[in-house]
């Protein structure tokens, strides 16, 4: 187990294109770090630089206090799970898992003991003599994980390990990975473009955009105190709505009526002209279903509902709005960058599942003004970010992690030095 430090890491390809640009990131011992971003943001490249499959153009990669820039992958003692598993089709499951141990010239008894332990943890016992071709997707995934945990690696690296599984299995494997990581307490770096995985698995999440780090924080901080438009738009599903707004004293005039800002946020945006207000879908509600006591905290507006989607436990309404051309272009640009194709400017609003709002009719909505963020349309910066509150959220997440790891260790369920004690769990 080891910490991973990256200092000003740059990856430049032959044509001079920087796939990873000046990334500095500290991953603590035992931490679960997620690298997330839209396709082409450099997250996989960064992971491959950690493991040594990709050369580092400049900067320092330090694993466990040792600079590893010039070490071959086999000398870094990391284990990795590939997106397509990369199992060896000519070997049985047993030999697949045993492969790293065989390379390390371990004696047969020790190999047998460890492979048995790993396969117990992953419930692969009855498949040990089968070939990968005869396994289901989930089983292959587990074999790939078995190969990763069987030796005492410094860290686990995952490269979109669940993207080849169907939705149901993906959910199960996600919790499985989370449990395994807590139990083994090993530093883990996990690349994904799926924000559900990012939010549920990570102790901290690193959001990348075009090779640059946007924000590194706990999932809660990312969600509540995003640093810019990009992070705000990327984290959350359905995504945050961005509405054009003009300033009128302490009030923001939006297509959905005026929003009153509190003292701190009003001060932050004062003196500006055109702004973007970021409002998450759940800050809206069907006005007829809002408590009398809560109403004064937000504002009311009427709008025509274009489409509603009822999902049983929740309901979404789509409200089209008009935006100035400059803003419209920018929002389109942003949505393209986030791998989605937003064709029209519309707000997605989460309303109570019991609401009987009708499509094509006007309806009254309530907007909770307490948590809205205001962005600078030019730079994309979040003007109203409360850095202190954000830091507090991440601090809490870190404390949770430390506590969990200690608890796991106290119960003797971690694998102090690798997979040796995994079987005792």
């Amino acid at each position: 187990m080891a910490s991973i430090e990256m200092r000003n890491i740059v990856k430049q390809y032959g044509d001079g294109f920087p796939a990873v640009n000046d990334v500095s990131l500290d991953i603590a011992d035992g931490e679960f770090m997620i690298l997330v971003g839209p396709s082409g943001c450099g997250k996989s490249t960064l992971l491959r630089m950690i493991v040594g499959l990709e050369d580092i153009t400049s900067g320092d990669m330090i694993i466990g206090g040792k600079r590893v820039n010039d070490l071959a992958p086999r000398d870094r003692n990391l284990s990795m799970v590939f997106q397509n598993y990369a199992l060896y089709p000519h070997m049985t499951v047993y030999e697949n898992i045993a492969f790293p141990l065989r390379l390390a010239k371990m004696n047969d008894d020790e190999v047998r003991r460890r492979v048995t332990e790993a396969s117990d943890v992953l419930e692969l016992k009855e498949h040990l003599e089968r070939k990968p071709a005869n396994l289901s997707g989930g089983q292959r995934q587990r074999v790939a994980m078995g190969r990763a945990i069987v030796r005492q690696a410094e860290a686990f690296l995952f490269d979109e390990p669940l993207s080849n599984l169907d939705a149901k299995l993906r959910g199960q494997m996600r919790t499985e990975i989370s449990r395994l990581q807590r139990r083994l307490g090993i530093t883990t770096v996990y690349v994904t473009h799926d924000q559900t995985e990012a939010m549920t698995l990570g102790d901290r999440v690193c959001v990348l955009r075009k090779g640059k780090i946007q924000q590194v924080a706990s999932p809660r901080e990312l969600y509540e105190q995003p640093v810019n438009l990009f992070v705000a738009g990327f984290i959350g599903s359905p995504p945050m709505n961005f509405l054009p707004a003009t300033l009128d004293g302490d009030r923001l005039k939006t297509p959905f009526g005026a929003v009153t800002l509190d003292e701190r946020r009003a001060a932050a945006v004062r003196g500006r002209d055109l702004l973007l207000v970021g409002i998450r879908p759940e800050y809206f509600e069907d006005a007829s279903l809002v408590d009398e006591a809560k109403r004064p905290l937000g504002s009311m507006f009427r709008a025509r509902v274009d489409v509603t989607e009822w999902l049983g436990d929740s309901q979404y309404a789509y409200i089209p709005y008009e935006a100035p051309d400059a803003i419209r272009d920018q929002l389109r640009e942003l949505s393209r960058e986030l791998d989605s194709e937003e064709l029209r400017t519309q707000a997605i609003v989460s309303i109570d599942a019991t609401s009987r709002m009708r499509e094509g009719r006007e309806a009254e909505f309530w907007l909770d003004a307490r948590k809205v963020h205001v962005f600078d349309p030019q730079t994309g910066d979040n003007l109203t970010r409360d850095a202190e509150a954000g830091a507090r959220l991440t601090q809490m997440a870190t404390e949770d992690r430390v506590e969990q790891v200690q608890e796991a260790q106290a119960q003797g369920t971690t694998v102090g030095g690798g997979a040796t004690r995994a079987g005792a769990a």
């Binding site: 992958p73 990795m80 397509n84």
Partner: protein
Amino acid sequence: MSRREKNLWIVAGIAIVLYALFPIAWIVSLSLKAPADISNGQFLPTSATFENYTTILTGSASGLFLPALRNSFGICLIATFISCVLAMFAAYAIARLDFPGKRLILSTALAVAIFPVISIVTPLFNLWRQIGLYDTWPGLIIPYLSLTLPISIWTMSAFFREIPWEMEQAAQVDGATTWQAFRKVIVPLAAPGVFTTAIIAFFIAWNDFAYGISLTSTEASRPVPAALGLFSGASQFEDPTGAIAAAAVVVTIPVVVLVLLFQRRIVAGLTNGAVKG
């Protein structure tokens, strides 16, 4: 597929097989005919005889045929082996590495392969005599390599390209050196490709006539196809057709055996299950 369609396929299949096997059947029948029978205009011999086989294996033609058979085996196996090993490394580099001149190597290989053999034979004949390679095994192995290497490189690089690169990277992360990854992961996965290439290379060398007849003069290195051309009848009025047919049958047997042997090794879809499925 409907029943009618299926029947059509079966009929067409049988027609093609018959068409392809007919010359072979003819040769077998010829080899079983007595000299007097050969031009009787019938497909089947009036009475089957192994006379021709005795002629080439123990009789008058055995002095010509048996050393040629030994030469052919030795030269072709050595040429196949060398070309497979060389092609394996070349194809691996071509499939995996980005180096300047990669396209050049591939197109040169192709150019060599399409070069007509007959245009090189004469200069080679002169050169080989000068440097003492004429009528020796290496004197044939070297030109055979020029025939087999290009096609081996092309087929094998196609096979290597099919192997997911992640395999090798996974092996490296698991602690393998480049050589170990190549030997323990890539080569076993490429085995069907290697066997296929080996068979093709062996056939090419085995079937060569132009080099065999031009670059040899004695049984020290003369291969079978060249020896067949030198068969003569018992008297100058007699055709050696029967003996040639018998020798042709004998020469075909190793090829058939080879295919049957390696057929099991050419397991299609060995890489299935390596990646998502």
